[in-house]
């Protein structure tokens, strides 16, 4: 049995619709997602005895009070966009050790109609040197920093704008099969992509992920019922000089390289064995970059995988079948975990990857922290 018979499982997932402007508070959104996840797991909310809230968002105190939860285990994972997948690992360890039976990962935020990213406190490490060395030069957003990585990649390997465009278009096409997606019902053409206004070259509007109102929840348990999805292997790692891109060497080194390698080695399977991948997509290039670093394509070779529908449903490796953060919504990657679970349970309807047995999920945060997991059902 892949991953051994004692692996932790994801037993419940839940989410609200994702939107630009929700008509409820972030707290109510979170409660909605958590109640859905508990129902999905077939447990009462009171059985949840572990909590991993997303740092800086709706807090666990509110949730505990509202739902009368009595956690025995509580922590946060402060790794930006790789928090969700890294939290899967902490939750797995917690249930394996007996520290908790059911650990809830959740996130609820009005990230679009409430305070937006630029107005929320930054959790990025290295704030003092950023104020002295970056902000004074007009460099202060994730899009600008990641554009620096993309530009260098483009210089080293070559990169056509249409390749990035196809990443955005594939995400949108998938979102159009997902009624919960923020961009459901809104097509995107290559011409529209190419006409997107400049954000931070090479990034234009449609290279950037959404800001979203919504909530997501995932429950990790020590249980292996037929419908539970096992966390077969999960790992995390950080890039060289994790707080700084400018003097990183190798410049394109990220934690995912090591994390994915650890997972492949532990499981004894490789990139060709997975049926779909949910790749953290803060920006289009980060999808391409991670596909290479996780081994789905060689260095400089991901464009060939992405061309000709390779990352769309029916392609060689369907990527972000929910629409990702580019088109489903920004849930800091927790929505990627949820989609992987639903694909493996064959619950995805029109956007189902046929016979999905193994699905990979990546997380990326804080300029280079990476985490990676492979999930599978009870029969692999």
């Amino acid at each position: 049995m892949l991953g051994g018979s004692h692996t932790a499982s994801i037993t419940g997932v839940g989410n609200t619709k994702y939107s630009k402007k929700a008509d409820r508070s972030a707290g109510l959104l979170a409660i909605d997602a958590v109640m859905s996840a508990a129902r999905d797991a077939g447990i009462e909310p009171q059985e949840i005895d572990g909590l991993i809230p997303y740092p800086g968002h709706i807090g666990d105190d509110i949730l505990q009070a509202e739902l009368d939860l009595k956690p025995r285990f509580r922590t946060t994972v402060d790794m930006g966009g790789c928090s969700a997948v890294s939290a899967l690992r902490i939750a797995s360890l917690a249930v394996a050790s007996g520290a908790a039976k059911h650990v809830l990962l959740f996130r609820g935020l009005k990230g679009s109609s409430g305070l937006r990213k630029a107005d929320r406190p930054s959790f990025l490490p290295g704030q003092p040197f950023r104020r002295h060395l970056e902000h004074v030069h007009g460099l202060n957003t994730p899009a600008q920093r990641y554009a620096l990585l993309c530009q260098r990649y483009k210089h080293e390997y070559g990169l056509d704008r249409r390749t990035l465009g196809e990443i955005a278009l594939a995400a949108r096409a998938h979102a159009n099969l997902n009624p919960d997606a923020q961009m459901y019902g809104r097509d995107l053409t290559m011409d529209e992509y190419l006409a997107g206004r400049l954000i931070s070259d090479p990034y234009t509007l449609f290279d950037c992920c959404l800001e979203t109102d919504g909530a997501s929840a995932v429950i990790v348990s020590k249980r292996n019922d037929a419908r539970d999805i096992r966390i077969l292997s999960v790992a995390e790692a950080q890039g060289v000089s994790p707080d700084d891109i400018s003097n990183r060497e190798p410049f394109l080194d990220i934690g995912l390289t090591q994390a994915a390698n650890d997972v492949w080695n532990e499981l004894g399977v490789g990139p060709n064995d997975v049926d779909a991948a949910m790749i953290y997509d803060c920006f289009t290039f980060e999808v391409l970059h991670q596909l290479e670093e996780a081994g789905f394509a060689g260095h400089g070779k991901a464009a060939a995988l992405i061309a000709d529908g390779g990352i769309r449903l029916g392609g060689k490796l369907p990527v972000n079948t929910h629409g990702g953060m580019l088109s489903e919504g920004h849930q800091a990657g927790l929505n990627h975990v949820i989609e992987a679970v639903r694909q493996l349970r064959q619950e995805c309807g029109q956007r189902q990857v046929e016979d999905a047995r193994l699905v990979a999920v990546s997380g990326w945060g804080q300029l280079g922290d990476g985490s990676f997991a492979v999930l599978g059902g009870q029969n692999v």
Binding site: G138, L198, D201
Partner: protein, 144 residues
């Protein structure tokens, strides 16, 4: 053009950066060097990654280098940089060649910037009363 007087000043009394800002005031680029093994490092840190020594000195280096990567910002996100587009580059110093310095680029149309282009430091007072001096980058050899 950027608006130097509107750029929010960092804490100029932060001991980790005092030598840096004193240097730019004298139109010098100063970076850190490990006193024990001689390794140059940037951004400023308290410990040498090479030998773990915390003994550090600041040394002037030639503010010359080549564009390692860059971005052209199309939408204003910081005070002092309301006028877009503007370019920000990571510049690899000619010497020591293991050091890269981030800076906004002046004196060139952003669209003309390219990786590998030779740039040099350009020093400009910033803050409401010119309290600090910022080192930006400009094409090498161009007139100020």
């Amino acid at each position: 053009m950027f608006e130097p007087e509107l750029i929010p000043l960092p804490d100029l009394s932060d001991p980790n950066f005092v030598p840096f800002w004193e240097g730019t005031k004298e139109h010098q680029l100063r970076i850190q060097q490990c006193e024990d093994c001689g390794t140059h490092r940037w951004p400023p840190r308290s410990t040498c990654r090479h030998c773990r020594s915390t003994a550090v000195t600041w040394v002037p280096v030639e503010p010359r280098g080549r564009v390692y990567s860059y971005t052209i910002v199309g939408r204003p996100t910081t005070k002092g940089y309301a006028n877009t587009p503007y370019a920000v580059a990571i510049v690899a110093l000619d010497a020591p060649s293991n050091i890269r310095i981030i800076g906004s680029v002046v004196g060139i149309e952003p669209s003309q910037l390219a990786i590998g282009m030779a740039l040099e430091g350009r020093f400009t007072p910033i803050g409401p009363n010119g309290e600090a001096t910022l080192m930006q980058w400009a094409p090498a050899g161009a007139q100020a």
